[in-house]
């Protein structure tokens, strides 16, 4: 039980790595930096495995397993409403899944990065940031209360900022980093208020206490329902920022300015899914707030479609993946929103595998082309970088939901829940399914544009080469996971048990509201074989295949068709190409007015004009009256004598007048 008692070791390892590399890495040789960085994450992974091993032998009653290490914040401890936050860590099924995903994907990406970043300046810095990120991400998932979660939550945001702006000399990179941080902070504002409200509602921020309180509340009563909904909505707004949902998704495409491993780790596999994790973690609250749930589902669903449409027209390979990520995150929220938290988390995990893989392979492509990201300048790479091609194809098949691949199982579960789950809604399902078709289309478009057809780059100048082993091995491992990572749920298709779901059920049922039935398996009364068939040739799959075919038709069969179509549907195309002008709208609607008001009204008018005007005006008035006062001193003795007489008359009259008052 060593690891269970010392969960903090999992956090310590990466932060140690970050500290060593950050403080001294500049003087280290690359190998040393590598071994510190990868070593610490590898050790973390091992520690996580050990933790999971020990977790397995825990009795059900001991879960969630909480260890509190020290008091982090304390105030008003002697009052009626003490406030105390312990630095406490928690292990339960959800944590285990997250820990495994994060540490494994993290490890693979670290290994990959040693190859990818080999020739970059600031090598040590990169790994210090990456380790720091691991620390915060692990803090986020292991924290036993919302405050510790918030530490990780903000910390990953910071690392995201640092890593996006890793090439800080590039203005766009620096801008993107800042945009990412500030946009997510906007969500965090609501998140913070949500935390405040949660604290004053539940009297604690520790999950177990909060949930116990929540389960005692009456969602039927207006007051309770209102406050629970408010908490849920506020927290979810935080998730919107962090997980790049509408309308705060704008930072994620820009975040692609960062090095590709960063995109893989942070902006695909782990950080952006923190919102999903949080919603799943807070399921006792969300489940009692149907309106919030519906909001989650709707936002997720619309984002899934919205981002997918933008992805259709993008040419930057990473941008496509970024929009794809937004879209897939939408699926996860859709899952959570319809009550299928397990499905959402399942998709989170499989997405971590295949989207991580997609980014890494994209990185490999870029690496191979010497930094080229524009797909219109690629093509025909299939033969030249076969490992990359095959692994990317696997990932694409996974994301497109082709049966047998990991993504198929998770997406299917989400869509299934949307159709028949506790909070099912047909239109959510329909939109989700349509988006799935679009996903298939743009992903295959990506594959075809990149790997098929004739090379559109200058072959003489660009020496295309397969990436080194340390990059390809992680690709292969992830490809393996992209195929088989979802198979734990496979038995369900034949009427068996969804092991993933069952493993996670305790987390979602422990405090679940009684009236909600959480089991959402396939339609009863139909034989296993038919179920399997229905699933495999279900509408989503069919749409996925259609998407594939359309992509094939457009980009292999008939390469001129896209341009023609773009010309025919000019308006739509411009709209999509420019990402619905959202960035521009934000600029005109919010940013510019805010800056203008700040500068020209608040600073120049209120501060310098009004307030200082009053202050300086007083000074001027004093000086003016000083001028008057000095005018008394005309230098003329007769005037002076007159003043004496004025005083004499004035004061004697005054005295006599008061005397008169006294007499009367």
């Amino acid at each position: 039980m060593f690891m269970l008692d010392h969960i903090w070791i999992i956090l310590l390892l990466p932060i140690l790595g970050a500290a060593i590399n950050g403080l001294f890495g500049k003087r280290f040789p690359k190998a040393a930096v590598n071994s510190v960085a990868v070593g610490s994450v590898a050790l973390t992974f091992i520690a996580v495995c050990e933790l999971v091993r020990e977790f397995w032998s825990l009795p059900a009653g001991a879960i969630p397993w909480i260890r509190s290490y020290y008091t982090w914040m304390a105030a008003g401890e002697m009052t009626e409403h003490p406030f105390r936050i312990d630095f406490a860590l928690q292990v339960d099924q959800l944590t285990v899944i997250m820990l495994l995903t994060v540490s494994l994907v993290g490890l693979l990406i670290h290994i990959y990065s040693t190859g990818y970043m080999e020739h970059e300046g600031g090598y040590y810095r990169f790994f210090a940031y990456m380790n720091l990120f691991m620390f915060f991400m692990l803090t986020l998932v292991t924290g036993a209360n919302l405050a510790v979660l918030f530490v990780g939550w903000e910390g990953v945001g910071l690392c995201s900022y640092l890593l996006i702006g890793f090439w800080f000399r590039k203005k766009s990179a620096a801008d993107a980093g800042k945009k990412a941080f500030i946009t997510t902070r906007l969500g965090d504002l609501a998140f913070m208020v949500g935390i405040l409200l949660a604290f004053w509602t539940f009297g604690s921020l520790t999950y177990s206490n909060m949930f116990a309180q929540a389960s005692r509340m009456q969602p039927d009563t207006m007051a309770h329902a209102g406050v629970l909904t408010a908490i849920a909505v506020l927290l979810f707004v935080g998730a919107i920022g962090k997980s790049a949902q509408l309308p705060l998704y704008v930072w994620l495409p820009d975040a692609m300015e960062g090095p590709t491993p960063v995109s893989a780790l942070i902006h695909a596999a782990t950080m952006v899914t923190a919102g999903v994790y949080m919603v799943a973690r807070m399921n006792p609250v969300f489940s009692r707030a149907p309106i919030a749930m519906y909001l989650v589902a709707v936002v997720g669903c619309i984002t899934a479609l919205f981002a997918a449409t933008i992805a259709l027209t993008q040419n930057d390979i990473k941008k496509v993946l970024a929009y794809s990520t937004i879209s897939q995150l939408g699926y996860m929220f859709l899952g959570c929103g319809v009550g299928a938290y397990a499905a959402g988390i399942f998709h989170l995990m499989t997405h971590a595998f295949f989207k991580g893989l997609l980014f890494l392979t994209a990185g490999s492509v870029i690496h191979a082309l010497g930094g080229e990201q524009d797909m219109t300048k690629m093509g025909g790479l299939r033969k030249k970088i076969p490992v990359t091609y095959w692994t990317m194809l696997i990932a694409t098949l996974a994301i497109a939901g082709i049966p047998g691949f990991a993504g198929f199982f998770s997406k299917d579960e989400i869509l299934g829940a949307a159709k028949s789950g506790p909070h099912a809604s047909l239109w959510l399902w329909a939109v989700g399914v349509f988006a799935a078709g679009l996903t298939s289309f743009y992903m295959f478009r990506l594959i075809f544009l990149t790997f098929c057809g004739k090379p559109r780059f200058d072959e003489h100048h660009t020496h295309v080469h397969e990436s080194p082993r340390k990059m390809t091995i992680p690709l292969m491992i992830l490809a393996f996971l992209s195929i088989f990572g979802g198979w734990v749920a496979a038995p369900k298709l034949v009427g068996g048990i969804d092991y993933f779901d069952r493993f996670l059920q305790p987390v979602f049922t422990a405090y679940a509201p009684t009236q909600v039935v959480s089991e959402a398996s396939g339609a009863p009364g139909v034989s296993a074989g038919v179920q399997l068939l229905l699933a495999i040739v279900g509408i989503p799959v069919i749409l996925a295949v259609i998407g594939l075919l359309v992509a094939w038709w457009f980009y292999i069969k008939n390469p001129n068709a896209p341009k023609k179509l773009a010309r025919q549907l000019h308006g739509a195309y411009v709209l999509l190409w420019n990402k619905y002008f959202v960035d521009e709208i934000y600029l005109v609607l919010f940013i510019r007015p805010l800056l203008w008001i700040s500068r020209n009204v608040l600073w120049k008018v209120v501060d310098a004009g009004a307030i200082d005007g009053v202050v300086n005006g007083t000074a001027t008035a004093a000086r003016e009256s000083g001028g008057i006062a000095r005018e008394l001193q005309s230098g003329n003795t007769r005037s002076y004598a007159a003043w004496v007489v004025v005083g004499a008359v004035g004061f004697t009259m005054l005295l006599l007048a008061f005397l008169g008052l006294a007499v009367r």
Partner: protein, 520 residues
């Protein structure tokens, strides 16, 4: 009328009670006698002699203090109050003399008469401080005034000095005539000119008629004209900037400090003792005058570029603050006035002595611009000046602050009697001290923040001046940090005045408690 024979011991006691005046006058005469026998080059020794005179006078204050009581058929009252003021006046004179020694050399007017006049003037102020009779006070006032007129014109060749002397003389005599007429009226309405006897008579008449004799009140008003003129209370302050600017700087130092202290002492005796029961009436005069004085002084100073003139305006402003304490019409108010005077004299003399030095030959360098960079060239001098300025500004840990503090405290203390008006007065004073901060601070700005003016070659600060500045600075700090002793002396001085008439309440040590809201 029977001839009164005075016993020898009584004679000696009388002499001891006016020992400081005697010492001052004797030293004044010695200076004059020695003067013809001293070579012009070594006349500065007369200055030291005169300074020694002030030292001996200071020592002789102890002699007087050991023999409290009325002297010379009650004309002079040697009490704690008079002793306190004597010390202030003599210290101011001593410092002014120290500041004069090298100044007179520099201006080429080193003459024994100067010192003699300073000593005589000081003796006159001493008489003012101790006078228990109005004609005695009048003579004391004239002794100090006439000496001051002459001292103002001591730089004979300088036109501004002439002008100052003329203005001061004419207006001073004018105001004195009012003062004298006031005395006549009090005499007329009470039949006496003794301050304590007048009090009794006035209170008798008050009891008999239910009101004060109008003539006495009219006399009080005219007395305020005369004395207000001397303490530069508005609207009688008009002459002050001109005279202070034109007079030789050490004389200004003396003029702006010592006579003010002595005259305030007399004012306290007249207003607080004789007219104690009319406090409700004269409060308003003081109130209005205080407000006018503060505003005129501070606002006028605000626009000055001539440092000497600025300090002149500032002394008007300070008269206003003292009047605030004066308005309290309580024992605490008197103590506050006395303490303020003690602090004020030190800082004002100190400030003017610095001006004396920086002015250089012919007092040409009086402008703010001439102080530019003084902080770098003569750091010690500038530090001293800053100390005095900050003290005048009322910064804590200096005497100036405690002066203001006690003044405000004394005034607020009388809130029971005068209600919100006195609070308003204090607030006005507070606002004024912020206005005042600006121009004091501006001099510091010039000294430290402005680039050094190139045409100024600093001259060595003469030892006598160093001693004077040192004393003034230490005194200012002493009064700021451990003012307890001086303040308790001031309190006992205030207590020594026969303020109370029979049957009236004790000094309001003013613990007024807001009445309970719904007391039954």
């Amino acid at each position: 009328m029977t001839a009164v024979t005075i016993s020898l011991p009584e004679q000696i006691a009388n002499l001891r009670r006016i020992a400081p005046e005697i010492v001052l006058c004797i030293f004044g005469m010695i200076v004059m006698i020695v003067d013809p026998f001293v070579k012009p080059a070594s006349r500065r020794a007369l200055g030291w002699l005169a300074f020694a005179g002030t030292l001996v006078a200071l020592a002789s204050v102890h002699v007087a203090a050991a023999e409290m009581g009325f002297a010379y058929s009650r004309l002079i009252s040697t009490d704690n109050f008079s002793i306190f003021v004597h010390v202030i006046v003599i210290v101011a004179a001593g410092l002014a003399i120290l500041g004069s020694i090298d100044y007179l050399d520099r201006e080429g007017i080193q003459r024994g008469e100067y010192y003699a006049l300073v000593l005589f003037a000081t003796a006159g102020m001493g008489i003012l401080a101790g006078a228990n009779e109005l004609i005695t006070a009048f003579i004391g006032l004239e002794m100090s005034s006439i000496s001051s007129y002459i001292l103002c014109g001591f730089r004979r060749k300088a036109k501004e000095s002439n002008e100052a002397a003329m203005k001061y003389f004419l207006l001073g005599s004018f105001a004195t005539a009012f003062f004298l007429y006031g005395i006549a009226m009090i005499y007329g309405s009470t039949g006496t000119t003794f301050i304590d006897a007048a009090k009794a008579e006035l209170e008798r008449q008050l009891a008999a008629n239910g009101h004060f004799p109008a003539l006495a009140i009219l006399g009080l008003g005219l007395i305020f004209v005369g004395l207000g003129f001397k303490v530069v209370a508005a609207p009688f302050q008009v002459y002050a900037p001109d005279v202070y600017e034109g007079a030789p700087s050490p004389v200004t130092a003396l003029l702006a400090s010592a006579p003010k202290a002595a005259t305030f002492a007399l004012m306290i005796r007249i207003f607080y003792v004789s007219f104690h029961s009319a406090g409700d009436i004269w409060f308003w005069v003081i109130w209005i005058s205080a407000v006018l004085t503060m505003f005129i002084g501070n606002l006028g100073a605000l626009v000055q570029t001539n440092v000497k003139r600025m300090l002149a305006y500032s002394s008007i402003a300070h008269a206003g603050y003292i009047l605030v304490a004066f308005a309290a019409s309580t024992e605490l108010g008197i103590a506050a006035v006395l303490f303020y005077l003690a602090a004020y004299v030190l800082m004002k003399v100190g400030a003017f002595l610095v001006v004396t030095h920086v002015g250089q030959e012919g007092e040409k360098r009086l402008n703010l611009q001439d102080y530019a960079g003084l902080g770098m060239k003569q750091p010690a001098l500038a530090a001293c000046f800053s100390l005095f300025l900050l003290a005048l500004l009322g910064l804590p840990a200096t005497g100036g602050f405690l002066g203001k503090f006690f003044a405000f405290q004394g005034a607020l203390d009388s809130a029971r009697a005068h209600g919100g008006w006195v609070v308003a007065l204090v607030i006005i004073a507070a606002v004024n001290s912020v206005i005042g901060a600006y121009y004091y601070v501006r001099v510091i700005v010039a000294m430290y923040f402005w680039p050094q003016s190139s045409d100024y070659t600093p001259t060595r600060v003469a030892p006598a001046l160093v001693v004077a500045l040192f004393i003034a600075a230490i005194g200012t700090l002493y009064l700021g940090i451990v003012p307890g002793r001086v303040h308790s002396l001031a309190e006992s001085a205030a207590h020594s005045l026969p303020l109370q008439s029979a049957g009236s309440n004790g000094p309001s040590n003013a613990i007024v408690i807001a009445p309970p809201q719904n007391a039954r």
